[in-house]
Symmetry: C2
Protein backbone atom coordinates (compact mmCIF):
# COMPACT_ATOMS: atom_id res chain seq x y z
CA UNK A 1 0.00 0.00 0.00
CA UNK A 2 2.33 2.64 -1.25
CA UNK A 3 1.05 5.74 -2.97
CA UNK A 4 1.74 6.28 -6.66
CA UNK A 5 3.00 9.70 -7.74
CA UNK A 6 1.90 9.98 -11.35
CA UNK A 7 4.45 12.64 -12.30
CA UNK A 8 7.26 10.37 -11.07
CA UNK A 9 5.92 7.42 -13.04
CA UNK A 10 5.73 9.48 -16.24
CA UNK A 11 9.46 10.27 -15.87
CA UNK A 12 10.33 6.59 -16.09
CA UNK A 13 9.65 6.16 -19.81
CA UNK A 14 9.59 8.05 -23.07
CA UNK A 15 8.00 5.67 -25.56
CA UNK A 16 4.56 6.49 -26.87
CA UNK A 17 1.50 4.29 -27.33
CA UNK A 18 3.01 1.87 -24.82
CA UNK A 19 0.79 1.73 -21.73
CA UNK A 20 2.52 0.95 -18.44
CA UNK A 21 0.73 -0.71 -15.53
CA UNK A 22 0.82 1.38 -12.35
CA UNK A 23 -1.88 -0.33 -10.33
CA UNK A 24 -4.28 -3.25 -10.12
CA UNK A 25 -7.60 -3.59 -8.34
CA UNK A 26 -10.77 -5.63 -8.69
CA UNK A 27 -9.59 -7.28 -11.90
CA UNK A 28 -8.84 -3.90 -13.45
CA UNK A 29 -5.56 -2.25 -14.38
CA UNK A 30 -4.60 1.34 -13.84
CA UNK A 31 -2.26 2.29 -16.67
CA UNK A 32 -0.50 5.40 -17.83
CA UNK A 33 0.64 6.23 -21.34
CA UNK A 34 2.22 8.96 -23.43
CA UNK A 35 0.45 9.50 -26.71
CA UNK A 36 1.31 11.60 -29.71
CA UNK A 37 0.10 11.34 -33.27
CA UNK A 38 -2.68 9.06 -34.46
CA UNK A 39 -3.59 5.65 -33.14
CA UNK A 40 -5.59 3.07 -35.12
CA UNK A 41 -9.35 2.77 -35.25
CA UNK A 42 -10.34 -0.07 -32.95
CA UNK A 43 -12.89 -1.29 -30.44
CA UNK A 44 -12.86 -3.55 -27.41
CA UNK A 45 -15.60 -6.16 -27.60
CA UNK A 46 -15.66 -6.98 -23.89
CA UNK A 47 -14.14 -3.98 -22.13
CA UNK A 48 -15.21 -0.45 -21.29
CA UNK A 49 -12.24 1.91 -21.22
CA UNK A 50 -11.65 5.11 -19.29
CA UNK A 51 -9.22 7.82 -20.44
CA UNK A 52 -8.31 10.54 -17.93
CA UNK A 53 -6.03 13.28 -19.23
CA UNK A 54 -3.24 14.26 -16.84
CA UNK A 55 -1.25 16.62 -19.07
CA UNK A 56 -1.78 17.93 -22.59
CA UNK A 57 -4.78 17.52 -24.84
CA UNK A 58 -6.23 14.30 -26.21
CA UNK A 59 -8.84 13.89 -28.90
CA UNK A 60 -10.91 10.73 -29.06
CA UNK A 61 -12.50 10.34 -32.47
CA UNK A 62 -15.67 8.31 -32.80
CA UNK A 63 -17.23 7.50 -36.15
CA UNK A 64 -19.64 10.42 -35.93
CA UNK A 65 -17.98 13.00 -33.66
CA UNK A 66 -14.95 13.79 -31.55
CA UNK A 67 -14.33 14.65 -27.93
CA UNK A 68 -11.40 16.86 -26.94
CA UNK A 69 -10.11 16.20 -23.43
CA UNK A 70 -7.97 18.51 -21.32
CA UNK A 71 -6.33 17.78 -17.95
CA UNK A 72 -8.87 16.80 -15.31
CA UNK A 73 -11.31 15.51 -17.91
CA UNK A 74 -12.16 11.89 -18.63
CA UNK A 75 -14.30 9.86 -20.98
CA UNK A 76 -15.57 6.31 -20.79
CA UNK A 77 -15.61 4.48 -24.12
CA UNK A 78 -18.14 1.64 -23.86
CA UNK A 79 -17.31 -1.80 -25.19
CA UNK A 80 -18.06 -2.26 -28.88
CA UNK A 81 -17.64 1.41 -29.80
CA UNK A 82 -15.02 2.20 -32.43
CA UNK A 83 -12.65 4.94 -31.44
CA UNK A 84 -9.31 6.44 -32.41
CA UNK A 85 -7.25 8.49 -29.97
CA UNK A 86 -4.97 11.17 -31.36
CA UNK A 87 -2.93 14.07 -30.08
CA UNK A 88 -1.06 16.73 -31.99
CA UNK A 89 1.38 17.24 -29.11
CA UNK A 90 2.38 14.69 -26.52
CA UNK A 91 -0.31 13.98 -23.96
CA UNK A 92 -0.09 12.07 -20.69
CA UNK A 93 -3.10 9.92 -19.87
CA UNK A 94 -4.27 7.54 -17.18
CA UNK A 95 -6.36 4.54 -18.20
CA UNK A 96 -8.66 2.39 -16.18
CA UNK A 97 -9.79 -0.86 -17.79
CA UNK A 98 -10.03 -4.63 -17.27
CA UNK A 99 -6.79 -6.58 -17.13
CA UNK A 100 -7.86 -8.37 -20.31
CA UNK A 101 -7.77 -5.17 -22.40
CA UNK A 102 -5.47 -5.14 -25.43
CA UNK A 103 -4.46 -1.64 -26.51
CA UNK A 104 -5.40 -2.11 -30.16
CA UNK A 105 -8.57 -4.08 -29.39
CA UNK A 106 -9.89 -5.84 -32.48
CA UNK A 107 -7.53 -4.04 -34.86
CA UNK A 108 -4.21 -5.71 -34.09
CA UNK A 109 -1.18 -4.55 -36.06
CA UNK A 110 2.23 -3.12 -35.28
CA UNK A 111 1.05 -0.95 -32.41
CA UNK A 112 -0.21 -3.92 -30.40
CA UNK A 113 1.42 -4.28 -26.99
CA UNK A 114 0.97 -7.77 -25.59
CA UNK A 115 3.04 -7.74 -22.43
CA UNK A 116 2.72 -4.46 -20.63
CA UNK A 117 5.46 -3.40 -18.28
CA UNK A 118 4.68 -2.69 -14.64
CA UNK A 119 6.46 0.39 -13.39
CA UNK B 1 -20.04 9.07 -24.56
CA UNK B 2 -19.70 12.55 -23.24
CA UNK B 3 -16.58 13.67 -21.46
CA UNK B 4 -16.69 14.47 -17.76
CA UNK B 5 -15.06 17.68 -16.58
CA UNK B 6 -14.14 16.99 -12.98
CA UNK B 7 -13.95 20.66 -11.95
CA UNK B 8 -17.51 21.19 -13.19
CA UNK B 9 -18.77 18.17 -11.30
CA UNK B 10 -17.17 19.35 -8.05
CA UNK B 11 -19.12 22.62 -8.38
CA UNK B 12 -22.41 20.74 -8.21
CA UNK B 13 -22.30 19.87 -4.52
CA UNK B 14 -20.90 21.05 -1.21
CA UNK B 15 -21.60 18.20 1.21
CA UNK B 16 -18.67 16.22 2.51
CA UNK B 17 -18.20 12.46 2.88
CA UNK B 18 -20.97 11.98 0.33
CA UNK B 19 -19.53 10.34 -2.79
CA UNK B 20 -21.25 11.14 -6.08
CA UNK B 21 -21.22 8.78 -9.04
CA UNK B 22 -19.72 10.34 -12.17
CA UNK B 23 -19.13 7.24 -14.27
CA UNK B 24 -19.63 3.51 -14.55
CA UNK B 25 -17.60 0.88 -16.38
CA UNK B 26 -16.97 -2.84 -16.10
CA UNK B 27 -19.00 -3.16 -12.92
CA UNK B 28 -17.04 -0.35 -11.29
CA UNK B 29 -18.07 3.14 -10.30
CA UNK B 30 -16.09 6.31 -10.75
CA UNK B 31 -16.99 8.60 -7.86
CA UNK B 32 -15.92 11.97 -6.62
CA UNK B 33 -16.13 13.29 -3.08
CA UNK B 34 -15.23 16.25 -0.91
CA UNK B 35 -13.65 15.25 2.37
CA UNK B 36 -12.73 17.24 5.43
CA UNK B 37 -12.14 16.09 8.98
CA UNK B 38 -11.91 12.48 10.09
CA UNK B 39 -13.77 9.52 8.69
CA UNK B 40 -14.34 6.26 10.57
CA UNK B 41 -11.99 3.29 10.67
CA UNK B 42 -13.38 0.70 8.28
CA UNK B 43 -12.52 -1.96 5.71
CA UNK B 44 -14.18 -3.40 2.64
CA UNK B 45 -14.22 -7.18 2.73
CA UNK B 46 -14.75 -7.67 -1.00
CA UNK B 47 -13.57 -4.50 -2.67
CA UNK B 48 -10.26 -2.86 -3.43
CA UNK B 49 -10.54 0.92 -3.43
CA UNK B 50 -8.56 3.58 -5.28
CA UNK B 51 -8.23 7.17 -4.03
CA UNK B 52 -6.84 9.75 -6.47
CA UNK B 53 -6.39 13.26 -5.09
CA UNK B 54 -7.55 16.01 -7.43
CA UNK B 55 -7.19 19.04 -5.14
CA UNK B 56 -5.92 19.45 -1.58
CA UNK B 57 -4.19 16.92 0.63
CA UNK B 58 -5.58 13.63 1.90
CA UNK B 59 -4.13 11.39 4.57
CA UNK B 60 -5.03 7.71 4.63
CA UNK B 61 -4.29 6.21 8.00
CA UNK B 62 -3.60 2.49 8.25
CA UNK B 63 -3.15 0.71 11.56
CA UNK B 64 0.62 0.96 11.40
CA UNK B 65 1.39 3.98 9.21
CA UNK B 66 -0.07 6.77 7.15
CA UNK B 67 0.17 7.91 3.56
CA UNK B 68 -0.20 11.57 2.64
CA UNK B 69 -1.52 12.15 -0.86
CA UNK B 70 -1.27 15.32 -2.91
CA UNK B 71 -2.88 16.13 -6.27
CA UNK B 72 -1.85 13.66 -8.96
CA UNK B 73 -1.16 10.93 -6.42
CA UNK B 74 -3.22 7.83 -5.79
CA UNK B 75 -3.29 4.83 -3.51
CA UNK B 76 -5.02 1.47 -3.78
CA UNK B 77 -6.37 0.13 -0.51
CA UNK B 78 -6.74 -3.64 -0.87
CA UNK B 79 -9.85 -5.42 0.40
CA UNK B 80 -9.72 -6.34 4.05
CA UNK B 81 -7.31 -3.58 5.08
CA UNK B 82 -8.54 -1.18 7.75
CA UNK B 83 -8.12 2.45 6.86
CA UNK B 84 -9.30 5.88 7.89
CA UNK B 85 -9.18 8.86 5.52
CA UNK B 86 -8.78 12.30 7.00
CA UNK B 87 -8.03 15.80 5.80
CA UNK B 88 -7.37 18.94 7.79
CA UNK B 89 -8.64 21.14 4.95
CA UNK B 90 -11.16 20.19 2.31
CA UNK B 91 -9.83 17.81 -0.29
CA UNK B 92 -11.35 16.73 -3.60
CA UNK B 93 -10.87 13.09 -4.50
CA UNK B 94 -11.78 10.68 -7.26
CA UNK B 95 -12.54 7.07 -6.36
CA UNK B 96 -12.56 3.87 -8.44
CA UNK B 97 -14.23 0.90 -6.85
CA UNK B 98 -16.81 -1.83 -7.49
CA UNK B 99 -20.44 -0.77 -7.65
CA UNK B 100 -21.06 -2.83 -4.51
CA UNK B 101 -18.80 -0.64 -2.35
CA UNK B 102 -20.36 0.99 0.70
CA UNK B 103 -18.48 4.08 1.89
CA UNK B 104 -18.22 2.97 5.52
CA UNK B 105 -17.51 -0.67 4.65
CA UNK B 106 -17.92 -2.90 7.70
CA UNK B 107 -18.22 0.00 10.14
CA UNK B 108 -21.71 1.30 9.39
CA UNK B 109 -22.93 4.27 11.39
CA UNK B 110 -24.19 7.75 10.68
CA UNK B 111 -21.77 8.45 7.86
CA UNK B 112 -23.07 5.55 5.77
CA UNK B 113 -24.42 6.57 2.36
CA UNK B 114 -26.66 3.92 0.88
CA UNK B 115 -28.02 5.53 -2.26
CA UNK B 116 -25.39 7.56 -4.01
CA UNK B 117 -26.46 10.34 -6.31
CA UNK B 118 -25.37 10.33 -9.94
CA UNK B 119 -24.30 13.76 -11.10
Amino acid sequence: MQKVILSEKFKLFKERWTPKIVGELNGQHVKIAKLQGEFVWHKHDEEDELFLVIKGQLTIAFRDYEEVLNPGEFIIVPRGIEHKPYAEKEVEVMLFEPKSTLNTGNAGGDLTQNDLEKI
